[in-house]
């Protein structure tokens, strides 16, 4: 323990704490921009500067450790002036279009400008002219709005380890961009959107599909179907100031109905269906000496990553389409026939926690007779905007229920949105298929939580099955290197590109805290716990689906409609 003084307050701090942390512990707030919790401070922006007795220069508090007897002033006139100048320079070099900006009222630069009372343009000068990169189906990059805090670069390099973007040039010409400044669509960016979650401004944002969706809803010819991913119900409440970790499934369904969708279906249905197919594929691979380990294929960010970086390993990826693509495919085949509607008149919208799913839905192989399985993808954030435009007062909505048959699901499907969930759900089913017995203790604690690599081993019918869960694409490199070197001991590996899984997806509400991720995960595990059916093979609607249409998992027709293939992509 160390004692120091901050703004005349005696503060007890732990050894190794930064001034920033020590100040926070006694309710003193210091602004930050480049600082990222859990990463080594870069000290780049200086907005967190404070005065420390005995030092001539201002000290960046995010990067400076406390020491005994230190006397700190976080609010001296000099500090305030320095901060204000930094903010003024940033504001001056930034487009002045808050009123029409997607991050209006959710922007750290706006907050700083307000906090330091910027009321005039003191430094008016040349401002940056940059083209917006709208080349990808998922993300937009607007370098004019970039304040060069570097958080996206660090998320991409240090957390995701994709390293798709970096600082280039210097001085006035400095920008964050891809190698050779090519469009994101042509780069090896996996479009996970983790950079959006950390960006303080609108320099990085999703490509919006709101117009497409509202047009479809107004069209007389289109039969509009909407589906919701498991992870959205765990986070949407945050945008309406409901307590963190509120399950808003019922309100979500009610809200979507008000938007005018003909059917409100649940991606959880297709998550169960995925498990039927994937568990069957796994058992088949184990029993017939096909390539092992098998990787899950639910996460299109992960799929894009392996296509770019380890194309020689693609045969290890399950051929199952991701759940929302399966849901769309079933809607446009089985369900279309049931309704007697042509698939071309059905418009499927997915509400997803994910930015990559937008790109995924444009993959040509994910379609039935040239109709895409999914026509448009909205992120959680876009849905909030849609509700606002439509005057849906979300917090006051009552509870409603998903439509059937593509709305029934089990607890196993609910947990897909948390890292480890797909693994857990698949094992519940595989165990049954291999032994004929129900797995009694369905909760596999070993694969839950936020660790980067989670491992477990089981004996099923006397055979050892080794599994691994890769939480966050930044942790997958060593696993793939081992596999390439012929040293992998696993049979089955789940990979989710976003740290924590889809609850922390790039389309989710903007947030900065790891604690939030755990609370969001808990929502999904609680839903699972409350269900009477917790194993995918207990889903009655899916049993009917196989009886009436697909015959059995892995059948010829299910291969045609529920499975896909992958392409090597350039590095």
């Amino acid at each position: 323990m160390i004692e120091l003084t901050i703004n005349n307050i005696k503060v007890k701090a732990e050894d190794g704490m930064t001034i920033l942390e020590a100040a926070k512990s006694v309710g003193i707030s210091i602004p930050t921009l480049c600082h990222m919790k859990d990463l080594v401070p870069s000290g780049a922006c200086r907005i967190c500067s404070v005065e420390v007795e005995g030092y001539r220069n201002l000290i960046p508090s995010c990067a400076y450790p406390v020491s005994g007897g230190m006397v700190v002033d976080t609010n001296s006139p000099r500090v305030r002036r320095a901060r204000k100048t930094i903010v003024e320079l940033l504001v001056e070099n930034h487009p002045q279009d808050c009123l029409i900006c997607v991050r209006n009222k959710n922007c750290e630069l706006q907050d700083l400008s307000e906090r330091y009372g910027i009321r005039e343009h003191r430094f008016a000068g040349e401002s940056k002219a940059h083209a917006v990169d709208i080349s990808s189906a998922s993300l937009e990059r607007d370098p004019a709005k970039c304040i060069l805090c570097g958080r996206c670069v660090r998320a991409c390099h240090e957390v995701q380890k994709v390293c798709a973007i970096d600082f280039t040039n210097r001085g006035f010409k400095s920008t964050v961009t891809t190698p050779f400044n090519i469009g994101l669509n042509a780069s090896d960016c996996i479009l996970c959107g983790q950079c959006i979650l950390v960006c303080p401004t609108a320099a990085l944002r999703e490509k919006s599909s709101l117009k497409t969706v509202s047009t479809a809803l107004l069209s007389k010819e289109k039969y509009t179907i909407v589906q919701v991913a498991p992870a959205v119900r765990a986070t949407l409440g945050e945008e309406y100031h409901l307590p963190l970790g509120t399950d808003v499934t019922g309100k979500l369904v009610a809200g979507l109905r008000r938007l005018g969708f003909k059917k409100v279906f649940d991606t959880n249905f297709a998550a169960d269906l995925t498990i039927w197919e994937e568990a069957t594929e796994l058992i088949n691979r184990i029993q017939t000496d096909k390539p092992l380990p098998m990787f899950t294929s639910c996460c299109p960010g992960w799929v894009k990553y392996i296509e770019h970086n380890y194309p020689d390993m693609l045969k290890h990826v399950s051929t199952c389409k991701s759940p929302h693509e399966m849901e769309g495919a079933v809607a446009k085949t089985y369900y279309a026939k049931k309704l007697g509607i042509s698939p071309k008149d059905i418009f499927v919208v997915s509400i997803m926690p994910c930015t990559v799913k937008k790109f995924e839905s444009t993959r040509p192989e994910l379609s039935e007779e040239s109709h895409p399985d999914v026509d448009a993808v909205l992120t959680t954030r876009e849905l909030v905007r849609f509700f606002n435009i439509a005057g849906v007062d979300f917090a006051d909505l009552g509870d409603d229920q998903f439509d059937n048959p593509l709305g029934e699901s089990t607890g196993a499907a609910a947990i897909f949105g948390a890292s480890g969930g797909v693994m857990e759900a698949a094992l519940r089913m595989a165990y049954f298929k291999l032994t004929g017995n129900h797995l009694e203790n369905v909760e596999l604690e070993q694969v839950r939580g936020l660790e980067g690599l989670k491992e477990a081993s089981f004996y099923i019918n006397g055979k050892e099955i080794n599994i691994a869960v890769v939480n966050g694409i930044g942790n997958v490199g060593p696993v793939l290197d081992d596999l390439r070197a012929g040293k992998s001991k696993y049979h089955f590996i789940e990979v989710m590109a976003c740290p924590g899984g889809c609850v922390n997806g790039g389309g989710q509400p903007i947030h900065q805290k790891t604690e939030k991720v755990m609370k969001r995960m808990k929502v999904l595990y609680d839903i699972d716990k409350k269900m009477s059916n917790r194993r995918s093979y207990e889903n009655e609607s899916i049993k009917t689906l196989y009886k009436e249409y697909f015959k059995e998992p892995g059948s010829h027709i299910s291969h045609e409609i529920l499975h896909t293939h992958y392409h090597p992509r350039g590095k």
């Binding site: 390099h157 973007i165 970096d166 600082f167 280039t168 190698p179 590095k571």
Partner: protein, 162 residues
């Protein structure tokens, strides 16, 4: 060509980046895209980082140099004498920005800080020739001098298509 240079450096040593970039640039006169990719593979750095470093330092070029190098002085004395206008005029005439090379590889346009000829500001240089106290009106004539024999239309098309 650059493969041999790469091999003379240890693999996965991130500290070799700058000397590597220098050596390879000295072979080509610039850093071709492919070389950047190979340097990334060799040093174990990401491609975006190598590209970022290469664009950070003024000594590195990402585009090949043209036959003639035009430098516009942007030092204080020249600035006061409107060298910015000379630059815009050159950019418009050559249809490139400072730092770039024309498609036919005839000209590279650069800006420099004071070139020590303030007494005849504003100054531009083409290769080793100095042009002082000039205005935008002089630009077309200066360029013409270095253009070499005028190209036939067909040739021009070919270069554009290439």
């Amino acid at each position: 060509m650059h493969k041999e240079i790469l091999e003379s450096y240890p693999k996965n040593d991130k500290s070799t980046l700058i000397p590597l970039l220098q050596d390879i640039q000295s072979v080509y006169g610039y850093l071709p895209q492919e070389a950047i990719n190979d340097i990334a593979m060799h040093t174990g750095l990401s491609r975006s980082r190598v590209y970022g470093v290469a664009t950070f330092y003024n000594q590195f070029r990402l585009t090949p140099l043209g036959e003639n190098i035009i430098r516009v002085c942007r030092g204080t004395a020249c600035h006061v004498k409107n060298s910015a206008n000379l630059l815009y005029s050159l950019e418009n005439t050559l249809k490139i920005k400072a730092g770039d090379t024309t498609r036919d590889k005839k000209f590279t346009l650069e800006t420099v800080a004071c070139i020590g000829a303030c007494s005849i500001a504003p100054v531009i240089t083409v290769n080793d020739d100095y042009y002082g106290r000039i205005t935008t009106k002089d630009i077309p004539n200066i360029i013409k001098k270095y253009q070499g024999k005028p190209k036939t239309e067909k040739q021009t098309k070919e270069t554009v298509g290439a």
